[in-house]
Amino acid sequence: MALNKQKTATEAIAHLRDGMTVGIGGWGPRRKPMALVREILRSPLKDLTVVSYGGPDVGMLCAAGKVKKLIFAFVTMDAIPLEPYYRKARESGAIEVEEYDEGMFEWGLRAAGMRMSFLPTRVGLATDVLAKNPNLKTITSPYADGEVYVAMPALKLDAALLHVNESDRLGNTLLRGHDTFFDHLYARAADHVIVSTEVLHEKLALDAHTAKLNAFERYLVQSVVHAPGGAHPTLFGPDYGWDLEHLKRYNLSATEEGGWQKYVEEFVNVGEAAYQTQIGGAERLAKLKLPVF
């Protein structure tokens, strides 16, 4: 049995191809698989369609020119509401966009996971989500009510990137955050799932209570990457909070001449091990308190 799915980030990301549709788990500046995103930044990958409840993952991929098209409901870093590199990409017309309501987005992931072409919803009617997207269609209920719905198309993903609290080499995962958002739906919507994990186990052996933290089945997972601190600088409950100091620095780089290139040289090109050292290592992560909302 080839049940050892452990790979290096480089090996895992090498499965991706130019032009692929890639889903990125998490929500805004929370639970983002940033170590995998940094690996993409170092790779020659291009022309990606990125599907994300967007945060700095989207901003960095836009800054690096990796994004051909963005499928999204928002891009924000919460404490810093406006994502600077997303804005630059959007305002210069550098990326195509397909914009959905947050709930429609969920519906699209669900449809893909259920192998449906669409799911009906009222959401999006009478808005420019419908008007600006000529590919988005409505459908009339075949029942007596005759109501008109949006036919939210499946958001089928070639690959999904997720960061989890614990995983074993077989791809059994534990998601321990207070809210783990829609990561389970990304896993179902994708042909190929790459999971990065804070803690890697040989094989999980769980009590019933802990087993409930397993949000999706291991048959959905193709690659497991051991990446402690892999969500930094985003919030990764309960292990560490977001690194506001780092996010501010990243945000500021967008206002400086050659700022992105400097950020890349300092934090991306050095590789993940050096990145973790640069940001202050496990000691720094331990000091990043979970924010109070």
């Binding site: 309501d101 969920e106 959401v123 009617l125 009478a126 109070v292």
Partner: protein, 264 residues
């Protein structure tokens, strides 16, 4: 003479949005709406449900900012996936601050400028506005009442639906659209005019209707019982101070003006 600030007056005005709503989720997004919802739950509407703004339902509103010794009292769970279930079922009343609002109550949080493909200003995205607006009651908060927010024509990217007839084609169910209040730094508006036209319902102390009209890109109506927005009572102020011990409300409006006497 009251010592209340304009922000505090707006919190009290915002809290009125949740009066007599029954048992539903009260979502006030950002400082003043959240304090408004919290004040509603602490005073006239204890039946409201609220979260800690993360993933848990709380028995009493959580104060803003660092909690110190305060321990949140959880009474249930409401992660984002369940919030969407709640939205679609209609048991929620949200108050958010859109970038633009038009005469039909349509809102924009996505992109400003005539060219959607290359906007003058990319904001956040439509977020949950399409779903909120077509599923459950909504109110709005505007800290800077002016013609850039209350636009003359249609908003640039209709994110939240409103009452513009041309947007509603046969078979589209408009029954759940329910726009309630707009609380601004000048006044409180509602959708009580003919065909849901926007009316001024109360003016903040020292503000005239003409002043509000001049700051709005479309014609406004006056409510028959147009009144002055009530000042916070001492009891309300005491609760607000408890809910906002670090005085985050003082940073919302420029120069934190007083409720009375700021207008020239």
């Amino acid at each position: 003479m009251t010592t209340a600030t304009l922000a505090e007056l707006m919190i009290v005005a915002a809290s009125e949005a949740w009066r007599d709503n029954g048992e539903l989720l009260a979502s006030g997004i950002t400082t003043i709406p959240r304090l408004g919802a919290s004040l509603a739950k602490m005073t006239h509407s204890p039946e409201l449900l609220m979260t800690n703004s993360e993933a848990y339902l709380v028995a009493e509103p959580v104060p803003l900012g660092p909690l110190g010794d305060y321990v949140p009292q959880y009474e249930g769970y409401l992660g984002f996936e369940r919030v969407f279930d709640c939205v679609w079922g209609g048991k929620r009343h949200a108050m958010i601050g859109p970038t633009q609002i038009d005469r039909w109550g349509q809102t924009n949080l996505s992109a400003v400028g005539p060219d959607y493909k290359k906007p003058k200003s990319a904001v956040l995205g439509v977020r949950g506005l399409p779903g909120n607006s077509i599923c459950h009651p909504n109110s709005f908060f505007v800290p800077n009442h002016g013609p850039r927010v209350f636009v003359a024509g249609e908003v640039d990217m209709v994110s939240g639906v409103g009452y513009k007839p041309e947007r509603w084609l046969p078979g589209m169910k408009q029954d759940y659209v329910d726009l309630r209040l707009i609380v601004t730094d000048l006044c409180v508006l509602d959708f009580g005019g003919p065909d849901h036209a926007i009316r001024v319902r109360s003016l903040h102390p020292g503000v005239s209707f003409e002043q509000v009209q001049a700051a709005t890109g479309f014609p406004l109506l006056q409510a028959d019982d147009l009144s002055e927005t009530p000042l916070p009572t001492e009891e309300q102020l005491a609760i607000i101070r408890k809910l906002d011990p670090h005085n985050l409300r003082s940073a919302v409006l420029k120069n934190n003006p007083p409720a009375v006497g700021a207008r020239g």
